[in-house]
């Protein structure tokens, strides 16, 4: 019965997804379907809060699945983020899909299925299970990217993503096969024991296999030089999907990457340090270069999400060098990045729901005059992404850079700070556009609706997460978020 409770969040979502799929052809309005989808997610979220912090290291239905699914706080926190991310995507974009003809009922089912896939990914304790989770999530996202069937850019983006994504999926399978060949099992537990009992010189086959898996991870997080899809796919996808991908799906990849890197390959993770450092440098510089040159805000955010992957890679290579701060730093940064990107894409898609054109930098001219409160919140998100102090983004960068310094990677820390400086340019450019130009249009009233209220809440959390202390109980401030990150990491070991 306890087992049943632990598996309930996932089951609620998958059953809900099937129900929604069946309902999608009925005559229900999109609005009502949206409410149902959010209700399902909320139900799952409530159960997750009950489970969180409850048990350590339980295998779900061990008699049936063996050790395929694990339940720990690490997975629970990721689950919470996925669910919240999906809920925010659905709620904030309420306006957006009402204004677009091409949205139909299955949109909600696809989102729910992909959340299910991500949850499988974060709970996976076995390579094939992880692959299945990854593919469930990816396949749904492929479909979502190409949702606007008549738009060429959208279709191109989908094809690009499907082809490249499937190819890197093949890399993952190859890696799994090699690891199975070496360790004789795909279960994380068995692999970890095998890695521990062998000298690094006898592990070449496993290392090659693990490197192949790493390539898949690099591809999915958009590390340079495997980034070529990012801009086009983020650009081609409808705003809600871009928001979902950038904030939620990206984090899901880190769930499995961290579990592999921190637990399974812990004894040998120093092996990849140089490789990671090279990827980090390329990602930071390449991403910054791309971001500087964009004219569309959406593409700029896409490119900057590559840079954020670069920061995370700094911390991951610090893990390999034995830094204690690095692993919580990654978790904290993921939370910070999640909040900031949900917020910024949320505002973008909120604006886009009224406008039918692609949003350029120039379109933001006079935005502060038209919508002063929205502009303030957009500024907060930009500042947080740029790592400006007094926002949660600053603390995220703070932990990452101190971790890099702790592990002796001064150059990477310096480079990270340099790219943070470059990022000031492209984020402040948007602030400049919003504030520096007058607008002839009259000032609009602040539309109080579910989307805008949520955006306000996110922006408050970002500020509070940057400066907040533990003065107010139950609302995690800067310390609270780090506590969460620490708890997640500690539950792994």
């Amino acid at each position: 019965m306890e087992q049943f409770l632990y598996a309930l969040p996932m089951m609620v979502i998958v059953i809900g997804a099937i129900v929604l799929m069946l309902l999608s052809n009925s005559r229900m309005t999109l609005n009502r379907l949206n409410v149902i989808a959010v209700f399902i997610l909320a139900l799952s979220l409530i159960v997750q809060f009950f489970i969180y912090g409850e048990k350590e290291h339980t295998y779900l239905f061990e008699t049936v699945f063996g050790s395929s699914f694990i339940l720990d706080d690490f997975a629970s926190i990721f689950d919470i983020m996925f669910t919240v991310g999906a809920m925010l995507t659905l709620l904030i974009n309420n306006e957006y899909f009402k204004s677009r003809r091409y949205f139909s009922g299955e949109y909600f089912a696809l989102i729910l299925f992909s959340v299910f896939g991500m949850m499988v990914l974060s709970h996976a304790h076995e390579l094939l299970t992880a692959f299945i989770g990854l593919e469930i999530a990816s396949l749904n996202i492929y479909a979502l990217v190409g949702y606007h069937k008549t738009r060429k850019v959208s279709m191109e983006a989908m094809m690009k993503y499907v082809v490249l994504g499937s190819m890197t999926g093949a890399f993952y399978m190859l890696g799994t096969a090699l690891i199975y060949g070496a360790a004789g099992s795909t279960s994380f537990g068995q692999i970890a024991i095998y890695v521990q009992n062998n000298d690094i010189h006898n592990l070449s086959m496993l290392i090659i296999g693990a490197s192949f898996i790493m390539i898949t991870v690099f591809f999915k997080i958009g590390a340079v030089p495997l980034h070529s899809w990012v801009l086009d796919v983020y650009h081609g996808a409808p705003y809600p999907i871009t928001m979902f991908m950038a904030s939620t799906f990206k984090i899901a990849i880190f769930a499995i990457a961290l579990r592999l890197f921190l637990v399974i390959f812990a004894p040998i993770n120093g092996f990849w340090t140089e490789l990671l450092q090279v990827f980090t440098i390329l990602t930071l510089l390449g991403g910054s270069w791309l971001a500087i040159n964009q004219t569309l805000v959406k593409r700029m955010l896409a490119a900057s999400s590559i840079v954020h992957s670069g920061y995370l890679l700094i911390a991951i290579s610090s893990i390999g060098l034995g830094s204690d701060l690095a692993a919580p730093a990654v978790m904290f940064y993921l939370i910070a990045y999640f909040l900031s990107s949900v917020g910024s894409f949320g505002i973008l898609s909120f604006i886009a729901s009224k406008k039918k054109t692609q949003m350029k930098y120039e379109d933001f001219k006079g935005f502060a005059h038209r919508r002063p409160y929205m502009a303030i919140m957009m500024t907060i998100f930009m500042l947080s992404l740029a790592g400006f102090p007094s926002t949660i983004g600053f603390l995220g960068k703070f932990y990452i850079f101190t971790a890099a310094i702790e592990s002796g990677q001064f150059l990477l820390a310096g480079l990270g700070i340099l790219t943070a400086f470059i990022s000031v340019y492209y984020y402040f450019k948007l602030i400049a556009m919003m504030y520096f130009y007058e607008s002839n249009e009259p000032q609009k009233e602040f539309p109080i609706g579910i989307s805008t209220v949520l955006i306000v809440i996110i922006s408050l959390i970002i500020i509070w997460g940057g400066i907040g202390t533990t003065l107010i109980p139950y609302i995690p401030g800067a310390d609270g978020f780090l506590d969460i990150a620490l708890q997640a990491i500690n539950s792994l070991k």
Binding site: Y399, I431, A432, D479
Partner: protein, 492 residues
């Protein structure tokens, strides 16, 4: 209240701004609110000054945990150095608000209040991360004020000042993080409070690199020659209140930073940079003076003049003797008052003539005697006219320079005279002669006189009765200096 007076002083403007913003206050309410806030903070700071013990070190200290995992603390305190700058900030704010009386754009007022919180916080924080937070935050209102309400190529110049300044702060951030990590490595605890970090023993090489990180941030803010490319464009296109704050307060914060964090953390390393800074400052004295002579735009001219005086302050700071240090501290105060005055006057010229080009002005003296008096007074006190505070300060620095080396002293003394050249020539062309402009020039009204009056009084007081002010800072300044000299001697 008494224990938290510093917190109140810092956050009162921000708090007022937030309250007014949330309730969507009318412009009139906003004006009244901002002005009242500035008066209340002034009153609080005067109370603070009255209760300040010149013999004591850090006073009114507030120390609380802020973010415990990373050892950041909410650590505030005031000593003679911060009190000087704090007094200046709060003294300059009410006249500025009076100057802005007819300003109807709401964003202006909000930004000024944010700015006050930013600069005050930076002056009072003794925790490096807290300092960094305020240091960055004060840039945001300046960015928006230049970009939104400026003139000329203001959008471009706003971006320029932000990028160059943030480049400096980022290098400082690296040094801060490294220092924090060093503390963690030696004691096992994270801490960024100045007090804890001074105890860290650094080897010479790291110390030199880390000091460079801090110095870059401060030197850009001052700016010394070579780091000054943002200055003239930013001053030229910023609206008057922003210029006043930049020249009177923010530039001084660069000096304050070197004093507090440079000499606080790296006493014995700074000697390594002293020759470089002294040479840069000397070059700056001449270079800025020449640029000021050839400049036709009044704002840009006084930007260069301000750069020249800040070079002088930096010079005095790195001469490390008691005359030069007292002179530097004194000049921080008097130059802030005088440049606030002169930039407000230029703002008034702009309001009347819609131009600040010297070649388009002239003949003001015959029409507006009161205006002429104030304008000439502030300009001359910038040049260091005997009887104004600037004279005392410059004299002290020159004595200090002679004490260090005859040639530096001679050089400084001669270049200081060049200030007379451009000031007198400028006065001649703007105030006297033929009017090159058909617009009617109205004299100062009562409000404008009231806002300028305190600045005049203070400048005269600092010039005529320096003994009123020296007891406030002298005892601790000499202690501070002895510590620095001791550390330098330890290196030799």
């Amino acid at each position: 209240m008494q224990e938290h007076i510093l917190t109140v002083i810092i956050f009162l403007p921000l708090f007022t701004a937030v309250i007014l913003g949330v309730f969507r206050a009318s412009t009139r309410a906003l004006k009244v609110g901002a002005f009242l806030t500035s008066v209340v903070t002034l009153w609080l700071v005067l109370w603070l000054t009255y209760n300040f013990d010149p013999q004591g070190k850090m006073q009114f200290v507030e120390h609380a945990q802020w973010i415990k995992h990373s050892g950041m603390s909410y650590y505030l305190g005031v000593d003679f150095l911060s009190l000087t700058v704090l007094l200046l900030i709060t003294l300059i704010m009410p006249p500025l608000y009076l100057y802005m009386k007819h300003e109807e754009r709401k964003g202006y007022w909000y930004n000024m209040m944010l700015l006050q919180t930013g600069v005050t916080g930076a002056v009072l924080s003794l925790d490096l991360i807290l300092f960094y937070m305020f240091w960055e935050t004060m840039l945001l209102p300046i960015f928006i004020m230049i970009g939104k309400y400026g003139n000329g190529m203001h959008q471009y110049n706003a971006m320029k000042i932000v990028l160059i300044t943030i480049l400096g702060s980022m290098s400082m951030l690296f040094s801060i993080l490294y220092l924090g990590y060093m503390h963690y490595e030696t004691t096992g605890l994270w801490s960024f409070s100045l007090q804890d970090l001074t105890n860290i023993v650094l080897n010479a090489k790291t110390s030199v690199i880390l000091a460079a990180g801090f110095l870059l941030a401060f030197v850009i803010k001052i700016p010394l020659v070579g780091f000054h490319t943002w200055m003239a464009p930013a001053y030229g296109s910023a609206p008057t209140p922003a210029v006043v704050i930049m020249s009177s307060i923010m530039a001084k914060l660069g000096i304050y930073g070197i004093w507090r964090f440079g000499f606080g953390l790296f006493e014995n390393t700074l000697i390594f940079y002293a020759p470089i800074i002294i040479v840069l400052a000397l070059i700056g004295l001449i270079y800025y003076a020449i640029r000021a002579i050839t400049e036709d735009n009044l704002r840009r001219m006084f930007a260069y003049s301000s750069g020249s005086h800040l070079s002088l302050i930096a010079l005095g700071l790195f001469l490390t003797n008691i005359y030069a240090w007292s002179g530097s501290l004194y000049l921080i105060g008097t130059h802030a008052l005088a440049s606030a005055g002169i930039f407000i006057m230029i703002g008034l010229v702009y309001k009347r003539f819609k131009t600040v080009r010297i070649s388009e002005l002239g003949g003001i003296a015959s029409k507006a005697p009161k205006f002429t008096f104030f304008f000439a007074f502030f300009a001359l006190s910038i040049a260091g006219l005997p009887g104004t505070g600037g004279f005392v300060a410059e004299l002290l620095i020159i004595i200090g320079a002679f004490e260090t080396s005859f040639w530096i002293g001679l050089f400084t003394a001669i270049t200081m005279l060049s200030a007379m050249v451009y000031i007198f020539w400028m006065l001649q062309r703007t105030l006297f002669g033929e009017q090159n402009n058909s617009t009617e020039f109205t004299d100062l009204n009562l409000r404008e006189m009231i806002m300028l009056f305190p600045l005049v009084v203070l400048l005269l007081l600092t010039g005529l009765v320096p003994s009123l002010f020296t007891p406030m800072f002298e005892p601790q300044l000499s202690v501070f200096l002895q510590n620095a000299l001791y550390a330098i001697g330890g290196l030799k």
